[in-house]
Amino acid sequence: MGVHVHEMAQIDVNGPSPATAETVFRVTAITKTYRMGDMQVAALRGVDLSLLAGELVVLLGPSGSGKSTLLNIIGGLDVPTSGQVDYRGHDLTAADDSALTRYRRDHVGFVFQFYNLVSTLTARENVALVTDLSERSFTPEEALDLVGMGHRLDHFPSQLSGGEQQRVAIARAIAKRPDVLLCDEPTGALDITTGKVVLSAIADINAKLKTTTVLITHNAAIAAMADRVLQLADGRIVGDQRNARRAVPQELQW
């Protein structure tokens, strides 16, 4: 498979200190209600949250608990029904569509369960989609190297395995050196071995680039790799705990 796990990931890395780290996101009393036909469905029922620079946060919760909604709001893909989201002094809830686009373009990297690579572009070109937009980005080659995909630059998605596709997606997400990396069930479609490789890549990036990372999963075992674990249930945060030690993804078992 040609995975080379970076030595940094082997080191027991502790996250940023809550006392000294900058607060990147300050989420205050947000709610989100979807209208589905005649029904109102509350996805978030008042969430307060702060995310610190450089920390790796795992959002844990069952289906329908509001994890993805929260992630999408933080990522500027969605806006809350009420409440406020502050990103380094900018009020995301007051931003219009073009401001949110600008925000995503400059600050956010996304990774999804189904990779969402453009099938007609090679690995290198998929990453270039992002590096073209940014001036402080890595080159596509550097970004792919960071996730251990430097040897498959000119392969099309159809020529890559699921884990490889997801690592290309991660490379694409981090190529612009985003301030925040948001991963929605990145291993949901992968087997355990491949999943660990992908998680290692994410942990590795977080450690190396100090990118604030939020990772959604319903798999409790993955929580061990986080600095901090947030538990969501029924649209509310029901647990917020800090791991004393971040587990290395390769150690995880599920």
Binding site: T120, E125, L129, P157, S158, Q159
Partner: protein
């Protein structure tokens, strides 16, 4: 009744794709409306024609002759197959209408003073029939009466056989012989300057000094004997009386003109809807294949649950057929309305007593069945690939299939392109079939607009060739009798005449074995400046010193080639057959004139150095003065001004084809929008996932629109030349479908027609792009990305 789950899905699917379904249904509606409208109109005209001909005993065979005793009719009745004969008097004269500057032509037909029981019976529209004993009473044909504001009680002055007469109009009439009033020697109807008058037999006999004699024969036949045999027998009987050659309905000016209108209409009723059907089948294919691609796993699931291939195929067929049926239900009433409107409107210039409009159900059902059948076949063709898949394969998502294509070999070029450009190029080259069919559909939209416009271009070309390149004279004066060439200079001394040129025009018939064609022999001077011989591509030919120049179309019809000898039957005064050599062919778009040298023709006619008409080039200031002289000149049989001939000529296609052309253009625009909109919508659906991904990565709406519209543009740009070529090709088909003895449509598509088609296409593309852009603005990023591609 229990509605099955599959039927409920059908309703939901239809609701989901309502805009696309509407676009397709509109195209269907346009096609079926055009078919029903055109077909019912041509049917209505045909029925009205048949009814009028039967009820008023329209003759089958005619012959002019110099003079024969009335008893000749009895001998003609004895010819096997002849059921009725009428010997009558017919004369041509000049009319003096105070409010019309140019001299007008009158045709005077003698009829018995009682209605009914005779051939070519008139139908009295207003006023009354002639009364015996009132010598100067006349009936006038409706078209002429309308155009000149004449009504019963009015009087008209005319010169008949040199006699000045005052005619009292007592009735306005229609005749099966003048459904289209084409003046003698003319090509197209002239309702304003050509009047037909029916007057008492005895009165006309007095004027012509032909008591007890006849100069015109009309015959009805039973249909049991071949017409050619009857014509030959009639010619033999009339030979001693200066018979000018009998002819059937296929040479009768009004009948020919009527057929020349109905035939192209029938052709258009088939050709154009056929193109519409092609476009509909294409659209169905495009939409259905997209739908099936997205529902592939659902189909697999249905099959896994035990739904049979038949019930799945039935489901999608029902979807297609309900869209098509919707279009038909919408289009048929529009077509019926169009048919009624067009028939009513044709009725104003085809002079029928009653318009027989009948909606024929089998025709409508047939049209609908063809539409449904063709779409169903197209749908099945699309379906077959998925139906054949085993459920397990169908349920699995189609693997991402992109592999390097031909475009990737151009490494350097690709390297220079932005990733979004590469996406476009790769997606086009990856599915060349799909790209091709999309480009083909888009080009079809352009082609059909061109088709709508080309008829007008062809007619413009015809008019330009005939009335600008060929004819330079201001007017032509046709003489009652041929005169010696020594006298032609007399015409140069008429007021206002700057230049006069003599010519000779003779009715004749080309004989080739069993086949024949009635033509006009035109004798021109070699130095002729006012009348040139010009083909449809503006090539000028000079009059050959010997032999005849025949029409290329006529030559092809009769199998005549330059160098061959051809027999020509002269059909004036003494009927005789002469032989001459074909010196060349000329591809004139109008009529079937045969050109000869004026002196050669004179020798052939055994009337050397004569002329029968003059072309005049006139000082416009003194035109009115000239007209007033000509109106009173007994030697002038008829006067035709180029300006009026042009107006009459233009009126004809403008009135018939023009309307259909406008309707076609409207429908073509609907098609263009239908195709482009559907193409764009499908592109959005296919690209939604990638475009959403780009949006998440921080691309703006404008940037992703550029990707999508870029792809449509990449297909639309080549569609333009292809569409122009296709439009030209369709024009070829229509050209051959509507060509007649009178008109051969030159294959001319003018640059403005192409420009208009491209403009319509561009507007359709832009309009669709805006709609699509709106959809992109509302792209639900979260939803799209949560779904597996």
């Amino acid at each position: 009744m229990v509605i099955s789950a599959l039927d409920r899905k059908l309703v939901h699917d239809l609701a989901k794709m309502k805009m696309q379904a509407l676009a397709i249904a509109l195209v269907v509606a346009s096609g079926i409306a055009l078919f029903v409208g055109t077909a019912t109109t041509s049917r209505a005209l045909r029925l009205s024609e048949e009814r009028f001909y039967e009820d008023h005993r329209f003759a089958h065979v005619w012959s002019r002759l110099a003079r024969a005793p009335e008893t000749v009719a009895t001998r003609l009745s004895a010819i096997p197959g002849v059921t009725a004969v009428e010997g009558r008097l017919v004369a041509q004269g000049v009319l003096d209408l105070p409010h019309v500057a140019e001299p007008a032509t009158g045709l005077f037909i003698a009829i018995p003073p009682t209605p009914g029981h005779r051939l070519n019976d008139v139908y009295i529209r207003r006023g009354r029939h002639l009364e015996s004993g009132s010598a100067n009473e006349v009936l006038v044909n409706e078209a002429f009466a309308e155009k000149n504001g004449l009504a019963p009680g009015d009087v008209v002055r005319a010169i008949i056989a040199g006699h000045q007469v005052v005619l009292h109009i007592v009735g306005v009439a229609l005749s099966p012989e003048f459904v289209m009033p084409v003046p003698p020697g003319g090509l197209v109807p002239d309702e304003r300057r050509f009047g037909v008058f029916w007057l008492a037999h005895d009165r006309l006999a007095d004027l012509l000094s032909m008591q007890g004699a006849t100069n015109d024969i009309a015959i009805r036949v039973s249909g049991t004997e071949p017409e050619a045999g009857i014509i030959a027998a009639v010619d033999r009987e009339l030979e001693p009386y200066g018979g000018q050659g009998a002819f059937g309905r296929t040479s009768h000016p009004s009948h020919v003109m009527l057929e020349d209108h109905i035939t192209p209409l029938s052709a258009l009723a088939v050709v154009v809807p056929a193109i519409f059907i092609g476009v509909v089948v294409f659209l169905i294919n495009v939409v259905l294949s997209r739908l099936i691609t997205t529902e592939r796993s659902q189909i697999g699931m249905m099959k896994a649950f035990g739904y049979s291939n038949t019930s799945i195929a039935r489901h999608y067929l029902l979807l297609v057929l309900s869209i098509i049926s919707g279009g038909i239900v919408f289009g048929v009433p529009i077509g019926v309305w169009m048919g009624q409107f067009m028939s009513d409107w044709f009725a104003t210039f085809f002079r029928f007593p009653v318009l027989v409009f009948r909606l024929e159900l089998p025709m409508v059902v047939g049209g609908a069945a063809v539409m449904l059948g063709a779409s169903a076949l197209g749908a099945l063709w699309t379906l077959r690939g998925v139906i054949d898949l085993p459920p397990v394969v169908a349920m699995a998502p189609p693997a991402p299939t992109y592999r390097p294509t031909v475009i990737d070999r151009f490494g350097l070029i690709m390297h220079l392109c932005a990733p979004s450009t590469r996406m476009i190029l790769r997606s086009v080259t990856r599915h060349p079939g799909r790209a091709f069919s999309t480009a083909a559909g888009l080009s079809g939209a352009i082609a059909i607009v061109i088709l709508g416009g080309f008829l007008a271009d062809a007619i413009d070309r015809i008019i330009d060739v005939r009335f600008r390149a060929q004819q330079k004279q201001d007017l032509s004066v046709v003489l009652a009798q041929a005169r010696s060439l020594e006298t032609w200079r007399d015409f140069e001394s008429l007021p206002g005449v700057r230049l006069a040129e003599p010519y000779r025009a003779v009715s004749a018939r080309l004989l080739v074995g069993e086949r024949f064609q009635d033509v006009r022999l035109i004798g021109l001077e070699e130095s002729s400046q006012l009348r040139l011989i010009v083909d449809k591509n503006y090539r000028t030919m000079s009059v050959p010193p010997e032999g005849a120049l025949i029409n290329a179309w006529l030559g092809a019809q009769l199998g005549l080639r330059p160098g061959q000898q051809v027999a020509i039957e002269i059909r004036e005064r003494q009927r005789r057959v002469v032989n001459t050599r074909i010196a060349g062919v000329i591809d004139e778009p109008v009529g079937t004139d045969v050109y000869m040298n004026l002196r050669t023709l004179g020798r052939l006619l055994e009337e050397p150095n004569t002329f029968s008409a003059v072309n005049l080039f006139v000082d416009p200031v003194r035109e009115l003065e000239l007209f007033s002289v000509l109106k009173r000149a007994p030697q002038a049989l008829g006067v035709e001004t180029r300006k009026i001939a042009l107006a009459n000529f233009r009126a004809m296609p403008d009135e018939s084809i023009g309307f259909i052309r406008r309707i076609e253009t409207i429908f073509a625009i609907i098609i263009a929008f239908g195709v482009v909109y559907n193409t764009a919508r499908i592109a959005v659906a296919e690209r939604a996932h990638e475009l959403a991904t780009l949006r998440v990565l921080g691309y703006t709406r404008r940037e992703i629109s550029a990707v999508l519209l870029g792809e449509i543009g990449v297909l639309a740009v080549p569609a333009i030349p292809i569409g122009c070529a296709l439009g030209f090709g369709l024009s070829v088909i229509v050209t051959s479908a509507v060509s007649t003895d009178l008109l051969r449509m030159p294959l001319v598509v003018a640059p403005p027609t192409y420009a208009f088609a491209i403009l319509v296409f561009a507007a359709a593309a832009l309009g669709s792009a805006l709609v699509v852009r709106r959809r992109l603005d509302h792209l639900d990023l979260v939803h799209v990305l949560k779904v597996r591609e």
